[in-house]
Amino acid sequence: MSEKDKAVSNPSRRNFVKTGAALAGTAIVGGIVGNLIGGKQVVEKETEKVVEQSVQYTSAMMFFTDPNDLKVIEAAAERIYPETEEGPGAKALGVAYYIDHQLAGAWGNNVKEYHVGPFYETEAVPEQGYQTRMKRNEVFVSGIELLRNEAQSRYQKKFDELAKEEQIAILQDVEADKVKLHGTAPASYFFRLLKQATIEGVYADPMYGGNKDMQGWKMKKYPGANTSQYAKVVDQDKFVEIQPESLNKHMM
């Protein structure tokens, strides 16, 4: 094999491994992946091996320590974005893991925000924006405690074991500040963050741990990072459905 041949064929093998890994978990048959990268026989055989090894490695906790906390967030997020006939809800899309990962990082720790005192929590008007000394991940910890306590005192059950309507009733009270969480943030601020993070977990690129298999995008017929045909379709009268791609594809 000459140097030139290597340069051509090696990236293609690399592409296959990455494509296989990215698509693993969906019902991939070798032929589809093979078509994506040129359809060589040898590639099809290797594909099956990769699919067998498929694991959702991102589904583990970086911030929460007790899996029960994750379950509360998973249940709450599912009420905000539930499973419907249109497709999966927050739970199946991996939103709880998305939120966990975000809480562990810069967003959860308010790293890029002006998080400097003095804090005048009670004097502030809502239009001045958040004024609590609590970091976002601390707001979530108190928020989970609140949901758990409300479930216990109202229904003597765990939040994630309540009926839908019971969960909704509690969340509505959180949203409307009818209940208070432990700390200086209003309960409605926790709700605002929870709703924002849930929507993000549904629709952010799958590399962040949610939007499992791009199903959030598929429900919206949104092509993700697959923008290559846009100049051709933007002026067309007919709606054109484009298969989504994640940013992972840019790395191949």
């Binding site: 905000i80 974005y81 539930p82 924006g129 629709y203 923008t227």
Partner: protein, 575 residues
């Protein structure tokens, strides 16, 4: 002890559109320029992961680092305590090479001729009494004929793609835009048909996203827009969007006369007896302090940061709203972007995932003094536009009025209308009032220990009436477009809310004019109080028009560059 560096001709503070234009013009003319940028360097290679809505749009990757104190404190009125703007919301200030010119949308307008003489024009048309108590509209000290050539220069550099505004009162362009308008889509077409039927004068939004490949007068070649829909808050990996990083900065660098220093935060302008000797800055990577001496200091940071740097440097007289005296921090204005109409179409799906930051259509029938305000309780107006920016999925979840904000019905409706919601927005002028202003905060400080800027601002009856009127016009057009349901905005504007994104078009604080008692700089953007300091940016605006500010900032910057060259020859005041 700060280390003093060899003197250069010009030092530029902040390298975005203002700093980039000044640097390219002056280095082409042979001056040695040092550009100090507090953020990081950038090339288009850094835009490889641009199509990440979470990182850029939700986590504000391109914006200033608030943790270091690159923010303001805010209150509604002078009696209240100002509190920090702790997370990005209402406006987004860029940082790093290109500044906010890296993450803008590319909507590119010339202001109206009457904008530059607004006070005189209002008095001429309606009399002095039409202006409510506390409104302090001013003339800018420059005429349309004086500024027009610089708009032309900017448009040629940026490659603006557009067409003549067909309104009978519109100034007839001397030259066509350098490029034809962007594509007509079903969305822009429907808007134009409806607006025409209603007797208005629609046209395509002028865009700095190129409609075709273009080589500008500096020899910079850029590719055509791919309608990938990642403009606002994102860098353009194709270079199709005019961005200082792909236009003026490389031109300055090619001359060999430009030295760029990134991670360099200027903390003071050094001056004595009405003349600056240079600037004091800190290298944020080492903590070392430097004095960069220069014959001319050009302040080109983002709008309100120019005000802050002057106040910190004790240069110019700070504005005092109780006496009305002083100028630095006076006439802070914004953009009244609250009148709008969301239209929901039951049987139509549009390719809304595709778009561009300046792909749209609009009417200017209700902007400036083009229409009769006699029976209205507001002045100036708004442009009313439909845009197809590309509906990214985290930020766009529109539902008809009455739908819950979360849960099953929210999901169903937001999915049903994901590609079937069109939005008409009115971009309203913002006029200055005596008690909307900027000064230094008494409590909160940045990472190097300097006070944050304090913003005192609220909506007035002017803004509320304008929003309501424009919301009605937007809804009228949306209904004529055949929407099955319409959500009309702007009906009930209360207090300014810093939490929700509205616009990054901040203006004033370092205003321009012919009268030193109501302006910081003269019409060449030369400071009245220091002849070798030029202050460039939307801070120069005495008010904001119903347009995006960038083209007017750029035109003023081109004119200031000419002023600086004149000053180098003759010295003294240019007026």
């Amino acid at each position: 002890m700060a280390k003093t560096l060899p003197k250069v001709d010009v030092v530029v503070v902040g390298v975005g559109w203002g700093g980039g234009i000044i640097s390219s013009e002056l280095t082409k003319a042979g001056l040695k320029v040092v550009g100090l940028e507090k953020g990081k360097p950038r090339t288009t290679a850094d835009y490889f992961m641009s199509h990440d809505e979470l990182r850029y749009s939700q986590r504000y990757e391109s914006m200033a680092d608030m943790a270091n104190g690159r923010t303001v404190t805010f209150r509604h009125d002078m009696k209240k305590r100002a509190l920090p703007y702790r997370e990005w919301g209402s406006f987004l200030i860029g940082e790093g090479l290109g500044g906010s010119g890296m993450h803008w949308n590319g909507q590119t307008y010339r202001f109206l001729p009457e904008d530059f003489q607004l006070k005189s024009e209002i008095i001429k048309k309606y009399g002095e009494k039409k202006m409510p108590e506390g409104m302090q509209v001013e003339d800018w000290g420059i005429t349309w004929d004086e500024i027009e050539p610089y708009f032309e220069k900017w448009e040629a550099m940026a490659g603006v793609s557009g067409e003549q505004d067909p309104h009978p009162a519109a100034v007839k362009r001397k030259k066509d835009y350098p490029n034809p308008p962007m594509k007509e889509t079903p969305v822009t077409k429907m808007f134009k048909e409806a607006a025409t039927k209603l007797g208005y004068h629609p046209y395509h939004m002028p865009s700095s996203n190129l409609s075709q490949q273009y080589t500008n007068p500096d020899g910079i070649a850029r590719a055509a827009c791919q309608y990938c829909a990642f403009c606002e808050r994102f860098g353009c990996e194709f270079g199709a969007k005019a961005d200082p990083v792909v236009t003026v900065i490389p031109v300055a660098q090619k001359t060999g006369n430009f030295e760029l220093r990134t991670y360099s935060q200027v903390t003071r302008i050094l001056h004595k007896d009405g003349k600056a000797s240079g600037v004091l800055y800190v290298d944020l990577k080492t903590g070392e302090e430097f004095i960069q001496e220069a014959d001319v200091v050009v302040v080109t940071t983002y709008v309100i940061e120019n005000t802050r740097l002057l106040l910190l440097s004790k240069l110019g007289v700070p504005y005092d709203p109780t006496t009305g005296k002083g100028v630095v921090g006076r006439n802070y204005t914004y953009q009244v972007y609250l009148g709008n109409a969301y239209g929901f179409f039951d049987d139509k799906e549009f390719n809304l995932y595709a778009g561009a930051g300046a792909l749209g259509a609009q009417i200017d029938d209700f902007n400036g003094l083009r229409f009769d305000h006699s029976d209205l309780n507001f002045l100036h107006g708004a442009t009313i536009h439909i845009t197809q920016l590309g509906d990214r999925p985290i930020l766009n979840n529109h539902v008809p009025e009455g739908t819950p904000a979360w849960g099953e019905d929210f999901k169903k409706q937001s999915l049903k209308y994901a590609n079937s919601t069109l939005v008409i927005k009115a971009q309203g002028a913002s006029l200055p009032f005596r008690d909307n202003y900027l000064d230094l905060d008494p409590t909160y400080k940045d990472a190097v220990g300097d006070p944050l800027l304090r913003m005192t601002f609220n909506w007035k009856e002017q803004d509320r009436a304008l929003s309501k009127f424009m919301g009605e016009k937007a809804a009228e057009i949306m209904k004529a477009m055949g929407a099955n349901k319409v959500n009309q905005g702007g009906k009930n504007v209360k207090d300014y809310d810093i939490r929700n994104y509205q616009s990054t078009h901040m203006n004033g604080g370092t205003t321009m004019g012919n009268d030193p008692s109501m302006s910081v700089v003269n019409p060449w953007l030369q400071m009245w109080d220091a002849e070798n300091v030029f202050v460039v940016g939307a801070g120069n605006f005495q008010h904001n028009s119903g347009y995006n500010p960038t083209a007017t900032v750029a035109a003023l910057a081109y004119r200031a560059a000419e002023g600086i060259l004149k000053y180098r020859e003759k010295g003294g005041s240019l007026v």
